[in-house]
Amino acid sequence: MSTPLAQQPLVIAGRTFHSRLMVGTGKFASPQAMSDALAASGTEMVTVALRRADLSGEGDPFADILDFIDPEKYLLIPNTSGAMNAEEAVRLARLAAAAGLPKWIKLEIHPDPRYLLPDPIETLKAAEILVGEGFTVLPYINADPVLAKRLEEAGTATVMPLAAPIGTNKGLDTKGQLEIIIEQAGIPVVIDAGLGIPSHAAAAMELGADAVLINTAIAIASDPARMARAFAVAVDAGRAAFEMGLPVAGRTARATSPLTGFLDA
């Protein structure tokens, strides 16, 4: 990847990242396609569904998704997808840690298997337990500003609000709420879910998000590696624009040569 346009590194829980693109590992046509896309994305953070991984410690060759992710190259963040309540999520997180995975956890608790919308109450409950046990917790949440603050107070490392339900490709459906979350946040805000095309990611970064997480849009692309690269470029461009300060849109025309320029003469 060429020198990024954006200049400020991302810091989560004291760890510095130069890529602001997180990538999920579900839905790919093959482990190799996933591996190629990760490389092309320039990502440093990869999330993996624990329900697809071998937690038994027996080297299960039919649950080999972890074999395709180089832990030297990427920070592997296990996720608790499939958990319907705090108890299940905590159990999964502990198992992942016991299996030797990093003690980072993307906390996902969605009791509704269709839209996979996160349960705010159970998420807060699990976050409090896991933070207390020393996990670096990255909770997936609805775009709820109050919940975001409550999680921050509980000690989570980020909040990961959705832009739209997982896999919908709808873009920044929750834009107004995301703006409030970003404005109020004292921890990194990672916009997760619903971003379907690179311009969605760029817009999220322009909004001031600290990072975005993409999975479906990359995984189901005809050329996942190329799409991963497209997202990487878009994230970088959006972040650079945010760092420079976006021009404020106005309703009336503004002359290139200011009418009041004589005052500075």
Binding site: F28, P111, I220
Partner: protein, 374 residues
């Protein structure tokens, strides 16, 4: 309130969603266009993946008489019930084939397949199989709870036919005669804590469009009322079996495909299951269009994978055990003849050639394994 109330008012109260579903079933809709939309919808929601599972038959004993079923009590077939050790042996064989998702299937017989037996089987398998589901005779909510606690994740119950009159004609004896009891079974399973609920209609028994509408209404109801569960839909077509029942309403490959596509477009996030009842050519064609779960390398008799249970083999005549004569009955009788006999490995390879990733493990027993947590 249960689905029975809504069902009894069908088709009169069909919602706009169900009316749209019904329109998709009409021949006027361009099948090719439906296929393209369904393929796209499936990729969006499920990605380029296919979950694989295998059935494991525990017992072919049955107290019911169902005219279409090879296991019917009156059929003079070779029967057996596997011991828990034998069930484990079958499961370990399937695990070597790659399966991490197993469906335990049994006829309905309180003497052979009682609650304690099912619990023991589930508990034994849960130690090394992440996802264990059941397809057994309907039970009470309270009877399901210990099976869920033992580690069972899913329950499958097909209504067979949603046509009351046909149902009554086909089920001549046994507890299965109770149409409403069966129809409410998915709700009882949900109350008991099952996370995945499978429903379906056995195609070939009644007019397929009417069956489809009732099945879609059932799915729609479960999505609204059992919102925490994953719902899967299966459309088994009748296959040759003991008793030699012939389908009274055969469903063509074209209509079967149309029905699958209509279900996918109406219920984008619902899992659609395709079994080895269907021929290889059709399965291959449907793989990229809307199917999300497939069985492979299936055997439909107890002990079919390892030969287990043969020492307890016996023959029945009108439900009564009769002595075996000579060398007859070396194997238990299958429920029906499968059509696609390719191995799990061959199916996985076919999926890969179509740009799909065969997923063996998509569940971990740490999720919802209550006894383990205790």
């Amino acid at each position: 309130m249960s689905f029975v109330d809504e069902f009894n008012r069908l088709p009169g109260i069909a919602s706009p969603r169900l009316q749209a579903f019904q329109r998709l079933l009409e021949p006027g809709h361009d099948l090719e266009a439906l296929a393209a939309r369904a393929a796209q919808t499936t990729r969006r929601h499920f990605g380029k993946t296919m979950r694989l599972f295998a059935p494991l038959y525990l017992s072919n004993e049955c107290v019911n008489n169902c005219k279409y079923c090879g296991f019917s009590r009156d059929n003079p077939i070779f029967r057996t019930t596997l011991s828990v050790d034998q069930v484990e042996a079958e499961a370990r064989y399937l695990a070597t084939e790659g399966f991490r998702s197993i469906l335990l299937v049994a006829g309905e017989h309180p003497k052979f397949v009682s609650n304690g037996y099912l619990e023991d089987c589930v508990r034994r398998l849960s130690a090394f199989v992440p996802s264990v589901a059941l397809e057994v005779g309907p039970m009470e909510t309270e009877e399901y709870r210990p099976v869920v606690a033992a580690g069972a994740e899913g329950l499958v119950v097909y209504q067979e036919t949603y046509d009351r009159a046909t149902y009554d004609t086909l089920h001549t004896a046994g507890p299965k005669k109770n149409f409403d009891w069966r129809l409410e079974c998915p709700e009882r399973a949900y109350q008991a804590g099952f996370r995945r609920i499978g429903i379906g209609a056995l195609l070939g028994l009644a007019d397929w469009r009417a069956e489809a509408l009732a099945l879609a209404a059932h799915c729609d109801y479960l999505l609204r009322h059992c919102w925490r569960a994953s719902v899967t839909v299966s459309l088994p077509r009748l296959r040759p079996a003991a008793g030699e029942f012939e389908p009274t309403h055969p469903v063509s490959d074209r209509d079967f495909t149309r029905l699958m596509l209509a279900l996918r477009l109406t219920f984008p996030q619902v899992g659609l299951v395709l079994s080895t009842r269907e021929p290889a050519r059709l399965r291959d064609g449907l793989m990229p269009l809307g199917i999300t779960l497939m069985s492979a390398g299936a055997r439909t008799e107890p002990g079919g994978y390892t030969g287990a249970g043969r020492e307890a083999l016996h023959r029945t005549e009108r439900g009564k055990i009769v002595p075996l004569i000579g060398t007859e009955g070396e194997y238990a009788t299958e429920q029906f003849a499968i059509s696609d006999d390719r191995s799990a490995g061959e199916i996985a390879e076919k999926l890969r050639s179509l740009g799909l990733d065969p997923v063996w493990k998509d569940w971990d027993r740490a999720l919802a394994h209550q006894e383990q947590a205790a």
